[in-house]
């Protein structure tokens, strides 16, 4: 395992050197490096429990770590296919390539960290390296907000890590965190500080502000990694703080709601809030990437709720949703990136009808959103189904409602780019664009195939998840052949897929039998007797859900709150500066006297 880190470390240097010579070469090298990483981590699947040390960093292979690392590597690997084509848009291509691999090293290290210090070091490495990549996108402010929100999480983790190490006297994760079974008060503090990092990184309401900014304006090739990959680091922290950290024992005495301790329930409510908020905001967006970013907020809510449940179904669902969302979101971002490469924009109202020029990209996007919306037979359905089953089994009706809202709301927002970018009228300026380059198409097709595979044969992943559940001592999810069984329902995705295929086949036959249709142009449509000759005017891409958006357009947004907070801090700083750092020597002497008097009066007592 150490070899993997050394290899990746060396290859990041090599990619820097190569990129200095020829940026594209370095970018191709990132594909090879991440593929090598993917393969070598895959080969570690049977060596669970092995520990290795590299200098003062200690690593251990765990099933969960392996699972997370595989997800991340998949996303990094597939997104890397896009890197070579964006080199000319970046002003520091060499830095991009090497930071791309550095952030990969950081995340993988995080998942395999054996002690808390390694965990934190890897975490921070991933954060700042990815921030420097985001900076090369369209917005400095986005990178900055990303860093600040992450820093809130990092610093609270650091506090938790150090306090844990101080109290428990060990830094080995499991040993240190299980110490708190005997110290619930300190445990509550550590739990709060620790999970905060998870919340900020997953982008849970109200810490979601960085996602739309960073995902929306990062270089197109890095948005999939941010959304599909780096966000999952937060999920890992959430996992650690509820599964390894004995959260249910620490809060054993607190008020319980349907068997869930109140603090954890509160966190779940935050997850539910981010589902609802993310959905509503995603519906409003005019930019495809920002829309997908808000959808990541919503999906983060599912993941958080699932992981916090710590039961047979929802927990498995949460862990599986990680993978499904990573794959689907990466594919969707990549599809949008491919479109942006050809058209130069991600604004939905400026696009339209791209399907007639980029059908494969369209298909990729379609499958991705089907998975993201949780419609069978794609992967997203299985995980959402498990979460629903788990929530309704426990009777957590509020959370279940939010989950349902997010699920149905997702139809609305995922359909928007589909309709506005790919369907509808093709603008004349995009008449001559071509399908995405074969290298990019390969990457997208890999992800698409994965989405489909996960949907039809979820048992492949659920077996690994069951292993994780057994390690944690909770009821494992039961997989029987291709069927997934739970206490209150079962589903056999292969059968669902077959029946669906059967229905499709029936109708296809019907369609073929019926008389053939005549192909007409897109402008040849019913227009209520208006004469419209410009395709752009006949394209409905702006304010798609206007009547619905109108219902909540006045709702306050969270970002201004942060801005105001930042302004207050600045004002406090300005006050301190003008009050204590006045350029007048009289005042400084006055302060000396004041301090002296205070001390003398205080000491005289």
């Amino acid at each position: 395992m150490t070899m993997i880190f050394i290899f990746l470390g060396l290859s990041l240097l090599l990619s820097y050197v190569l990129s200095r010579k020829q940026p594209t070469l370095g970018a191709y090298f990132t594909i090879i490096a991440s593929l090598a990483g993917l393969i070598s981590v895959y080969l570690l699947r049977n060596s669970v429990g092995v520990t290795e040390s590299f200098y003062y960093l200690n690593f251990q292979i765990t099933t969960i770590g392996w699972y997370f690392a595989m997800i991340l590597l998949t996303v990094y690997f597939t997104s890397a296919f896009f890197n070579p084509f964006w080199m000319d848009e970046l002003i520091y291509p060499a830095a991009y390539n090497s930071l791309y691999l550095l952030s990969l090293v950081g995340t993988i290290g995080l998942f395999f960290a054996q002690d808390l210090m390694t965990l934190f070091i890897c975490w921070e490495t991933a954060v700042w390296s990815s921030m420097l990549i985001v900076q090369q996108g369209k917005s400095r402010q986005a990178a900055w907000v990303y860093f600040v929100i992450s820093a809130i999480g990092s610093m609270s983790t650091l506090f938790a890590v150090l306090l844990t190490m101080y109290l428990s006297g060990t830094s080995e994760i499991t040993g240190a965190l299980t110490y708190f079974t005997t110290a619930p008060v300190a445990g509550a503090l550590v739990f709060g500080a620790f999970i905060l990092a998870g919340l900020t990184k997953i982008g849970i309401f109200p810490f979601h502000v960085w996602l739309p900014l960073a995902h929306g304006s990062a270089p197109h090739t890095f948005s999939p990694v941010l959304s599909g990959g780096l966000v999952k680091m937060g999920a890992y922290i959430a996992y650690l703080s509820v599964a390894v950290f004995p959260a249910y024992q620490v809060f054993g005495d607190s008020l319980k709601i349907q068997g869930v301790p109140l603090p954890i329930y509160g966190l779940m409510i935050l997850g539910a809030a981010s589902i609802v908020y993310g959905t509503l905001r995603a519906i409003q967006q005019e930019d495809a990437k920002r829309l997908l970013a808000y959808s990541s907020v919503a999906n983060g809510g599912y993941i958080l709720i699932g992981i916090l449940m710590m039961d047979q179904m929802a927990f498995a669902g949460g862990l599986m949703h990680l993978l499904n969302h990573a794959v689907a979101s990466a594919a969707a971002f990549l599809a949008i990136a491919a479109v942006a490469k050809r058209t130069g924009t991600t604004k939905m109202s400026e696009l339209g009808g791209i399907i007639h020029r980029m059908p494969i990209t369209y298909t990729v996007y379609l499958i991705a959103i089907i998975s993201m919306a949780g419609i069978p037979p794609m992967g997203g359905f299985v995980s959402k189904w498990l979460i629903f089953q788990g929530l309704s089994e426990k009777g957590l009706i509020l959370l279940a409602t939010a989950a349902a809202f997010g699920s149905i709301g997702s139809y609305m927002y995922v359909f928007r780019p589909l309709s506005a970018v790919f369907l509808g009228q093709l603008a004349p300026k995009y008449e001559h664009i071509k399908e995405a380059n074969p290298v990019m198409v390969t990457a997208m097709l890999i992800l698409t195939a994965m989405s489909l595979l996960l949907g039809v044969l979820p048992n492949l992943v659920l077996k690994t998840i069951a292993k994780i559940q057994i390690e944690l001592g909770i009821n494992p999810i039961i997989v029987n052949g291709t069927a997934t069984l739970t206490e209150n329902g079962s589903v056999d995705m292969l059968q669902v897929f077959t029946v669906f295929g059967f229905g499709f086949l029936l109708i296809l036959i019907l369609f073929m039998v019926l008389p053939k249709s005549r192909r007409v142009g897109l402008m040849d449509t019913y227009t209520s007797a208006e004469f419209i000759h410009t395709p752009e005017l006949l394209h409905y891409g702006h304010s798609f859900y206007a009547p619905f958006e109108r219902l909540y357009e006045k709702w306050p947004s969270v970002l201004p709150l942060y801005k105001r907070m930042s302004m207050k801090l600045s004002e406090l700083g300005e006050w301190a500066e003008s009050f204590f750092f006045h350029p007048d020597p009289n005042r400084a002497v006055l302060w000396i006297v004041v301090v002296a008097i205070v001390v003398i009066i205080g000491g005289a007592q």
Partner: protein
């Protein structure tokens, strides 16, 4: 008694430093402050009707009421240092005057 004179001078010096905005007056106030401090130091080693701490033939070897020489040595050094600071301060003040034609800091305002 002499201590109180020192403290009074210190307070006067501080008062001057807190109130005046005239650079030369500030330096004067600083000097008053240092003077007060020096007097205070002298008073630490002062012994009434004491003798100079110099061993001569007619001084008994078990002499007890001699003046402590250390504070006096200190004051000497302190005066020299104070002098240096004052000279530098005046030079700076002169430079400022050359630039702004005034010694009044409130007229110059915050220099950026």
């Amino acid at each position: 008694m002499i201590q109180f004179a020192g403290i009074a001078l210190i307070l006067i010096g501080i008062y001057g430093l807190m109130t005046t905005k005239h650079m030369i007056k500030l330096i004067i106030a600083l000097n008053v402050l240092e003077l007060g401090a020096n007097i205070f130091i002298i008073s630490v080693g002062f012994v009434k009707n004491g003798l100079a701490p110099i061993l001569t033939a007619d001084v008994p070897s078990d002499l007890l009421n001699f003046v402590d020489p250390l504070p006096q040595a200190m004051v000497l050094t302190a005066i020299v240092i104070g002098f240096g600071a004052t000279a530098l301060g005046l030079a700076v003040a002169r430079k400022v005057y050359g630039k702004y034609q005034t010694y009044d800091l409130s007229v110059i305002g915050g220099e950026e």
